[in-house]
Amino acid sequence: MPVRLGIRRFFGTSKPALVAVLAAAVPIAAAAQAPPVPAAPQPRFVVVLDAAHGGDDPGGKLDTQAEKAYTLSLSVKLRSLLNARGIQVVTTRESDTNVDTNRRAEIANHANAQACLSLHASQTGSGVHLFASSLAPAPPTRLPAWKTGQSAYVTRSLAMAGILNSALQHAGIAVTLGRTAMPTVDSMTCPAIAIEIAPDRAAGSTTKTGLDDPGYQASVAEAIAAAMLEWKTEAHQP
């Protein structure tokens, strides 16, 4: 009784209430005795944005600007959109500077990214062109060859192209898919896609929406950002 009284005194409550408190405390105590399960850390998700060309290499000539300026502007816009969605972004260039092809791949490979997007623009064709590497898929190796590093990631690159395709088409943008041999993408050891933005043309080849149209550029960037968010969800699924 002294013990019970002591408890009553300590809690300052009646018997039924004490029983309820003790009953509630049992699972808490059991949980406290179980080995602690650390909360699984959210895996790092990094997207590399490679604004093609730059410095002495202007790239293609667009209507009012060089390709290098267009890709840089798109890269800056995309970085903001991805950051706003909680995605970490690494860029290969932030200004009009020369970046060697190998250096671009080096930056992407050091970032250990889950998605690498090489951004391009062109006056030919229509809509957005998505290109995966034309290298044949190969099993991953401990020391991949530099010029064919992408071969171990081709399958995942094609899966990412599918997600980008869906997102762009959902936004009402025409998409063409293809495979190409491009030194930067072929050396990347991450799921990598080269994205080429072309004017959105009507069926008769008359320019409907030019590359300079801010609305078109924004809708392309929004669709790519939405695709990256979906890719992140897929990448984190067990």
Binding site: H120, T176, A181
Partner: protein
């Protein structure tokens, strides 16, 4: 009154000027002849006597990023290298046409040469008495080396899709007409070049079979 020595001097200078003019004219004529002789005299037009044969061209279309098979009847020479050059020249003529679906300036003169070599990795020739002429070099896979002109590369539209389609249509057209051609490499003015116009890799060896799609399919 003009002094006698001045008259003689004037005469000598006049004669020297005329002589130098004649020499310069002759030198100019010789230089012109040398230039004419140095020009590429390889035939770009098939000889009239060659019989017309069907040739399959894989024609690129920028609108949907596709290669479409098209059969043209051309007088084709027997030599495979000259034949390949002529067929690719026709393909480039289609691209140089004003209403081309894949516009690329240059025309048939964009293809300087096409060399056909045994494909690398070919095993050493083993001949048997029953088939002495059938060596791997004679019937095995071939590597085509396409030498493009610098003017063509300089004027090619820059872009991933445009450059990729040009490269793949050349590879596919070669394989469609010369099935032994399984690999293709590119040179520009006889030299290796990193990319065609800033995008498509020209340093790698392309597998011609990869470029041959089903009808109208994307490469």
């Amino acid at each position: 009154m003009i002094a006698r020595y001045q008259t003689i001097l004037f005469g000598v200078l006049l004669a020297a000027s005329v002589a130098m003019g004649i020499v310069l004219w002759q030198l100019r004529e010789r230089a012109h002849q040398r230039l004419l002789q140095g020009q590429d005299s390889a035939p770009t037009q098939a000889p009239e006597v060659a019989p017309a044969e069907p040739a399959t061209l894989l024609v690129a279309n920028d609108a949907d990023n596709s290669l479409l098979s098209q059969v043209q009847t051309l007088p084709l020479p027997k030599d495979p290298g000259a034949r390949a050059r002529l067929i690719l020249g026709k393909l480039m003529d289609l691209y140089a046409a004003p209403d081309a679906a894949h516009p690329v300036p240059g025309g048939s003169s964009s293809i300087a040469q096409v060399f056909l070599l045994p494909a690398p990795g070919l095993s050493a020739g083993i001949t048997t008495p029953s088939s002495p002429a059938k060596t791997p070099e004679a019937s095995g896979p071939q590597l085509a080396v396409v030498n493009l002109t610098g003017a063509f590369a300089a004027s090619h539209p820059s872009g991933l899709e445009a450059e990729t389609l040009t490269v793949l249509s050349i590879c596919g057209t070669l394989h469609a007409n010369l099935p032994r051609v399984t690999q293709v490499r590119f040179l520009v003015d006889g030299q290796p070049r990193p990319t065609l116009a800033g995008h498509a890799d020209l340093t790698r060896t392309y597998l011609a079979t990869d470029a041959v799609p089903t009808e109208g399919a994307h490469p």
